[in-house]
């Protein structure tokens, strides 16, 4: 991060100054601002919240939402939990894999990144997905890829 970004981030995090209990929120704010959490941001969060870097690192690595590299333009979250399995999400995941999207490793493919999630609360209309936050019912590989490419464009 450049000094400029550090300063900007520090300003954004000012609301958490000295608050040992705000590490998670500070990381969320960081990711909202930058799109991911660069390693050097861990030190900024530690300093602002007056905790150790290790604590921040521990929190950062515990939660699956946090990313340490810039995310793809389009993120597709595919539900792989039971209710969606009952509606064919296992097959959907296999099909996506065949099309070059591995939801388990969440590897970026072009501007699209597909990742697994456990439940989106849309369990009667599975397989469920979220494309950049927009809910999708009865997902198919074709539907997801088309829509994702559209969003990523």
């Amino acid at each position: 991060m450049t000094q400029f970004v550090v300063d900007d981030l520090t300003a954004q995090l000012e609301q958490f100054r000295g608050n040992n209990y705000a590490v998670l929120q500070a990381l969320q704010t960081t990711q909202e601002m930058i799109g991911f959490v660069p390693d050097s941001a861990l030190d900024v969060v530690a300093k602002v919240c007056n905790v150790s870097r290790a604590e921040v690192y521990g929190v950062f690595t515990f939660y699956s939402d946090f990313k340490n590299t810039a995310p793809a333009k389009c993120i597709v979250k595919v539900c792989v939990a039971e209710a969606c399995q009952a509606n064919g999400s296992r097959e959907l995941v296999d099909e996506l894999h065949n099309q070059g999207f591995d939801v388990h490793t969440a590897k970026q493919n072009g501007n699209v990144q597909m990742e697994q999630t456990f439940c989106l609360g849309n369990c009667a209309l599975g397989p469920a997905a979220l494309i950049n936050g927009q809910p999708i019912a009865r997902a198919t590989a074709k539907k997801l890829i088309e829509k994702a490419n559209e969003v990523a464009r």
Binding site: N50, S52, E55, Y57, T61
Partner: protein
């Protein structure tokens, strides 16, 4: 399988060092409850865990994540038990006993559960017990035996962590993640014991892994205190020495020789080789904790630089000649005698060492007072804490701190002045941090932004960032607010203090010149901040003052000590737990060296030489005539050397040429003498001017006692035979004898017996008693047979507490046009004092040169870049070091450490000193800095330092 080498039937209650481990901390409750465990009914304090209740009563429950130095965690699930009337199998570590509870710890069901848990552990653990460094000192191995694991039915082909990379970056221990059982003991130790929180768990679930914040240990926040290594139940965190040399086979308990905390360690040896130093849970000062110096930096004791044979030379320009002990001693004795014959009895003297044992110090001062026949004895405490003795004895009546370290656990407001405990007294620093994290408030008075001002989970309520040299103005302002705002504890004063003196003091302190508004202009500290800090201290509950050399090493060091004593009395903060005035002593035995009569004006127990009755006792005991007048202090000796009146000096384990101010002056004085005898481990800077070098013993070879900053007399036991062939007290005795005063002791215990026989505060002390009870805080006598953790409980030692007026007299040393910056000095965690010891260990990896900290604006003004070599000059001298731009110091103030002779910080410090004790004013020197010639750059690179190590 190879793992099951020790299938014992019972769980051993022990940790790595053989001390009992009851799994969870002791409950402090007064309520006793009754609980039945495996059929036996036992009584324990309420709040005791089932695990501890069982363990204390001889019924060990298997455990892995529990250890009694840490709060229970409940993760390993080895300690599950059954409780009548309760569902399931609760963990015995996290379940407190309740009255009438019926617990079963050994049932077939529990046996199977434990075995099945162990089977899971071992399914992800390397099968290399026989070649593992922790073999025999591994709780996982022990427990596998205890639960009777015979087979791992999962096989070893499943997902595992066996390929995890080792982190060998720390110079003292390795981290082998493949052996980790994720019990979190290391993480919790770093949090709860050390308070650095450098460790965490990375990831979650099966991928959970201990991590120093995603970095390696060396580059992480880790301060290498060893608490994690100590806490690790497996070979995951293991001392390199154990890996290289093997498990220790025997243990000797002794006391660390670094700072004034005085930690108790178990020195663990394999044959005669010291493998590791493990902090003892029974240690009164440290209670199982340690720092990087005591825990790991003991290698200097066997460093190749150590001199083991006596040496002499005619002139300091000559080469050294190795000689026998007899020759060296008679050479020194004859020369001393010759000097006295020619220049008078008063022409020689000596210096005792605060690093040596009480017994050694006692013999040195005795030699000077008897064989030398004068009182020209002084101690290196002169240059650090002499004002403490003066100030506290004037006001309270004793030359020592008022509390034990544990007292801080009860403090509500801590006033920290001129001390940096997390660097200089780390084990106490951790204790203080624990209390602060429990909610105690902190006021820091220091020109520099210390870690305690703001670091993980620590934030001082007030940082009074004063200009160096204005301590007294600040303490007066604080007292002024308390007096003028009616916050004094009048009841305490009426009952405990000299009220006439108080009335005088009150009149003085209420003067406008002491108001925060006036002091603001002198000190740079905002008046409002001063007022708030004063109110907090006066009204925030138990107020405790801790201070260090930032108080004493000033021209008004003694005044400041009295000012703090006044403040403590005015707020009623004396005579109970959680309060007091507490010096943090620099060296391990500063307290002891003062206690033992090292000052030229007083005999052991702080009794003035002019006291006829006292002198008579000593004269009878020693069979000599003693002088009733004070002898020379170190600066007097040096001054008189230059004027030719003083010509011979015995320097016991101190490096005055590096540690004393105005190096050039010191060197000239040493050079002017006819005989300088140095006793030390290494050829130090002072030894360059010596004619006789007497090799000393390291703390690992000594037999005796150290007295720490809390007046705690700790035993120092010989871990190995003296490498130089003689105990130092023996050498001193021989020198005294050779000079014509017969002195002989069979052992160190005899010396302590002599000290006890003639020193009222030590009356009941003996090695036998210390060995029996561990340690004692003086006074230890008929009135206080168990020692005195807290002083002045029922009244001041001097009778009534004495308030003394403390006018602020600014030092002569001021910033001016030519020298516009104020230099102040201090210490860093990894290095110690002049560095003679720590520089000869791998500690240099953390700090391999002294740097000058300066503020960005001062750097910019002078075109100085971070890391650049700069020259620092004062009116006394000039030296060079690297610049470090930081916001730790305010503009106008620069700071450095004095651990390296090459940077020679004392080349520039001045001749100013405390008015009462002549303790040098190290903490204020007006300087100017400028970029230095870049050619000097290479002289102190890390590579060079590591080569030397």
């Amino acid at each position: 399988m190879t793992l099951l080498s020790d299938p014992r039937g019972v769980a051993p209650i022990r940790d790595g060092i053989g001390e009992p481990d009851y799994g969870t901390p002791k409950s402090t409750s007064d309520v006793i409850v009754s609980v039945t465990i495996d059929g036996a009914t036992v009584q324990v304090p309420a709040g005791t865990s089932i695990m501890r209740a069982a363990g204390e009563n001889g019924c060990a429950i298997p455990k892995l994540c529990a250890t009694d130095s840490l709060e229970p965690f409940g993760s390993c699930r080895m300690c599950l038990v059954e409780v009548d009337g309760r569902k399931g199998t609760p963990a015995s570590c996290t379940t407190p006993v309740e009255d009438g509870m019926v617990v079963r710890t050994q049932t077939p069901k529990l046996g199977k559960l434990r075995r099945n848990v162990m089977e899971l552990y071992i399914s992800d653990h390397p099968l290399e017990c026989l070649t593992c460094a922790a073999n025999g000192d591994c709780e996982l191995q022990d427990m596998a035996g205890v639960v009777g694991l015979r087979d791992v039915r999962y096989g070893y082909e499943g997902e595992n962590h066996l390929g995890a990379e080792k982190d060998q970056s720390n110079p003292y221990f390795d981290f082998d993640s493949s052996k980790c059982i994720v019990c979190n003991r290391c993480v919790r130790a770093c949090d709860q014991i050390q308070g650095t929180l450098a460790l965490t768990i990375e990831g979650r679930g099966f991928n959970s892994k201990v991590s120093p914040g995603g970095l390696n240990f060396l580059s992480s926040e880790c301060v290498s205190c060893g608490a994690c290594v100590q806490a690790c139940p497996t070979g995951t965190l293991e001392e390199k020495s154990v890996i290289e040399l093997g498990m220790p086979t025997r243990t000797v308990q002794t006391t660390c020789a670094y700072c004034g905390v005085g930690c108790t360690f178990n020195a663990e040896l394999r044959g005669d080789e010291l493998i590791r130093m493990v902090p003892a849970k029974t240690g009164g000062a440290n209670e199982g904790h340690s720092c990087v110096k005591g825990r790991f930096a003991f290698g200097y004791a066997s460093h190749k630089d150590r001199v083991l044979e006596p040496m002499i030379r005619e002139k300091i320009t000559d080469e050294w000649t190795k000689v026998s002990w007899d020759e060296a001693i008679s050479y020194a004795a004859n020369k001393f005698k010759a000097i006295q014959a020619k220049y008078g009895d008063n022409s020689i003297g000596g210096v005792t060492s605060s690093r040596c044992t009480n017994e050694e110090i006692f013999t040195v001062q005795k030699m000077i007072r008897t064989a030398f026949g004068n009182n020209n004895v002084d101690t290196c405490a002169r240059v650090c804490h002499s004002p403490t003795g003066f100030g506290l004895s004037s006001t309270f009546g004793t030359s020592a701190g008022t509390q034990d370290f544990k007292s801080v656990n009860k403090s509500d407001v801590i006033l920290l002045i001129g001390a940096n405990p997390t660097d200089a007294h780390p084990v106490f620093g951790s204790r203080m941090k624990r209390r602060l994290r429990q909610g105690a408030k902190l006021i820091v008075v220091d020109p520099r932004k210390l870690d305690l001002v703001e670091s993980a989970h620590i934030k001082a309520q007030h940082h009074l960032q004063l200009q160096p040299g204005t301590n007294v103005a600040i303490i007066n302002a604080l007292a002024h607010v308390i007096v003028t705002e009616g916050l004094v504890d009048q009841e305490f004063i009426n009952e405990r203090c000299d009220t006439e003196a108080f009335a005088r003091w009150m009149k003085f302190i209420a003067l406008p010149e002491n108001s925060p508004e006036v002091v603001q202009s002198q000190s740079g500290v905002p008046a409002q901040e001063l007022r708030e800090a004063a109110r907090l201290f006066a009204t925030g509950g138990n107020g405790a003052i801790y201070y260090g050399l930032g108080v004493t090493e000033h021209s008004q060091g003694s005044t400041m000590v009295m000012g703090m004593a006044n403040l403590a009395m005015a707020t009623g903060n004396i005579g109970r737990e959680g309060v007091g005035v507490n010096p943090l002593r620099g060296q391990n035995n500063v307290q002891g060296s003062c206690d033992m009569g090292s000052f030229p004006h007083e005999l052991s127990g702080y009794r003035h030489v002019s006291d006829d009755a006292v002198r008579e006792q000593f004269e009878t005991l020693w069979d000599v005539k003693l002088l009733p007048d004070p002898g020379m202090r170190i600066p007097n000796m040096l001054d008189n050397a230059l004027s030719g009146e003083f010509r011979g000096m015995f320097v016991h384990g101190e490096d005055i040429a590096q540690s004393d101010p105005n190096t050039k002056h010191v060197m000239a004085a040493l050079e002017a003498m006819d005989l300088v005898v140095v006793q030390d481990l290494f050829i130090n800077e002072t030894a360059n001017f010596a004619h006789v070098f007497l090799p000393g013993t390291s703390f690992l070879e000594k037999d005796g006692t150290f007295t720490n900053a809390e007046r705690r007399i700790n035993r120092v036991r010989p871990v190995m035979a003296p490498k130089n062939g003689k105990q130092e007290w023996q050498i001193i005795s021989e020198l005294a004898t050779a000079m014509g005063y017969p002195m002989h002791y069979d052992n160190a215990a005899q010396i302590m017996d002599e000290i006890a026989s003639i020193t009222p505060t030590f009356a009941n002390v003996s090695f036998e008693l210390l060995d029996r009870v561990g340690s004692l805080q003086w006074p230890v006598n008929a009135a206080a047979p168990a020692g005195t953790p807290i002083m002045h409980v029922d009244g001041f030692v001097r009778g009534k507490g004495l308030f003394i007026e403390t006018p602020f007299v600014p030092t002569e040393e001021r910033a001016n046009r030519k020298f516009p910056l104020l230099l102040t000095t201090g210490r860093i965690l990894s290095q110690y004092n002049v560095g003679a010891q720590t520089r000869r260990t791998a500690n240099s990896i953390w700090h391999h040169e002294d740097v000058l900290e300066l503020h960005e604006s001062d750097a910019q003004m002078r075109g100085i870049k971070d890391g650049q070599k700069i020259s620092i000059s004062s009116r006394i001298g000039e030296t060079t070091m690297r610049a470090k731009i930081t916001d730790r110091v305010p503009a106008g103030v620069v700071y450095t450490t004095f651990h390296y002779p090459v940077s020679g910080a004392n080349v520039i410090t001045t001749e100013y000193s405390d008015w009462a004790t002549n303790c040098p004013e190290y903490k204020v020197t007006a300087v100017e800095i400028r970029p230095a010639d870049s050619s000097a750059d290479a002289d102190n690179s890390l590579d060079d330092v590591l080569m030397k190590v």
